[in-house]
Subunit: 274 residues, 2 copies
């Protein structure tokens, strides 16, 4: 693990590290905020959306003030493998670099690198546990858009690993959204049954369960009707008695101006449950 | 004036505009945050540092939550003229694009474009006054590094225009700092007497007066001893009975991780005086 940068902020430390990832077969970068005045803080994972890296929420998410106050470590991984040796489609923002979709690819040539599901669930927590004095028995997870999708599927499939889950404007049914279904086909093949384990609506329909989920969604989000459609998640959660708190936020779009506005609410949601 | 973007944030509106600047002879871009629930908010100007544009503080400054709460409009101008027709030194981060130093150039070929002093003091306030329902009789000013220098010299030379002034890690004596003196020479010639009207330490020494100034400075700032040296300002302010509140912040560097940490303190400083 290599420290790339480190700065004081709100009494804590905001750092960036890189390491050689085994499951993604490339160098991966992530950001860590260590809060002040607490010995073994719990860990909150933030998963970013399409085109993002570890940087976006670190720079624009405005999480440090509240995380310092609440005593929570925040970890912001990258959204995909990267590098000259990683297969990619440079001009496609919905596939490859910045678009890992938090799944484990099975198809050539992607399966050697695009394993963000295992990376977020296993490899990175192990690295963090070995290198930081954080309480890895208390982890929670949230994210935005594609990262909201990631948080939902990872929490639904591993409910014992996470104390709480929330999302900003998540892609709730990537199997049927145009901006994700093409990527799913390339990463894991044309069989739609295989896609369902990376689709929160399908997972809930299949009986996967997480007791409570907070979702904030901007009503002025230009991706709302085509790609996000939180009502699909609302529908299956109601049937499965999952307590989904879906808050439609009037006037807000898909940007970090929206995320930062409701960031404190999400941190408090996790703090109460972690 | 052209609206380039607009997003809801913390109940207010964060927008970006561009307009044809007369004094800079090019298209200029600036960001405006309009707070909610207040009819004629006062106006706080934030001037950015070297290499920055209107974007840096808008994305990383974390001012919206507190500005919304306090009911203050925040305006973030660019740091220099830009464009194909503006003379520049592409590889020099301390001169030209992103390095206007908030002065009015007098030398060829710069004097036609590099007039950030008049732009910030006169042209942009007039444009804002004509296009927004802000209370232009209540303006304050602050900034970071080169922008801290800008805020200091503009407030010192125009104390009736601004209700309050503060700075993060300002360049207090640009005439004698290596990273600014070369630019001064190119913009306004070799005569050091001409530089002094854009140098806060020299201005205070020459009798220019602003009653109170708040300065936050990180002790781990790598530019502290070479370029910033706030003790020079402290010294002349003491002699001139200017109430300089200089806070040395242990552990903090020159980044927006530092600025965002103390942003709320500065907004409250201005709110109490504006």
């Amino acid at each position: 693990m290599k420290k790339l940068s480190s700065s004081f902020s709100f009494g804590g430390i905001q750092s960036v590290y890189s390491h050689a990832s085994v499951v993604n077969n490339c160098e991966m970068t992530f950001a860590v905020f260590t809060p002040p005045n607490i010995k073994n803080p719990p860990v909150l994972w933030y998963l970013s959306g399409l085109t993002c890296s570890h940087l976006n929420v670190m720079e624009k998410g405005e999480y440090r003030k509240k995380a310092a106050e609440l005593g929570m470590a925040i970890i912001c991984p990258d959204t995909s493998p990267r590098g000259d040796k990683v297969p990619d489609e440079k001009d496609n923002w919905q596939f490859g670099s910045g678009a890992g979709f938090y799944l484990d690819a099975t198809k050539e040539p992607y399966y050697k690198n695009y394993n963000m599901y295992s990376y977020i669930k296993d490899e990175l927590p192990e690295l963090i546990g070995n290198n930081f004095d954080f309480d890895m028995s208390r982890q929670s997870i949230f994210g935005h858009s594609m990262g909201g999708h990631g948080a939902l599927i990872i929490a639904l499939r591993n409910p014992k690993n996470y104390k709480s889950c929330s999302a900003f404007a998540p892609i709730v049914e990537p199997s049927t959204a145009t901006w994700s279904s093409e990527a799913f086909k390339k990463y894991i093949g044309p069989n739609k049954k295989d896609w369902e384990k990376y689709d929160s609506v399908a997972l809930v329909r299949d009986g996967f369960y997480f007791p409570e989920i907070l979702v904030d969604q901007g009503e002025a989000d230009s991706f709302l009707n085509e790609g996000l459609r939180p009502w699909l998640l609302e529908d299956v959660c109601r049937k499965s008695q999952i307590n989904l708190k879906l808050r439609m936020q009037s006037g807000y779009d898909h940007s970090y101006f929206f995320i930062s506005t409701f960031m404190s609410d999400h941190l408090m949601w996790h703090k109460e449950r972690i």
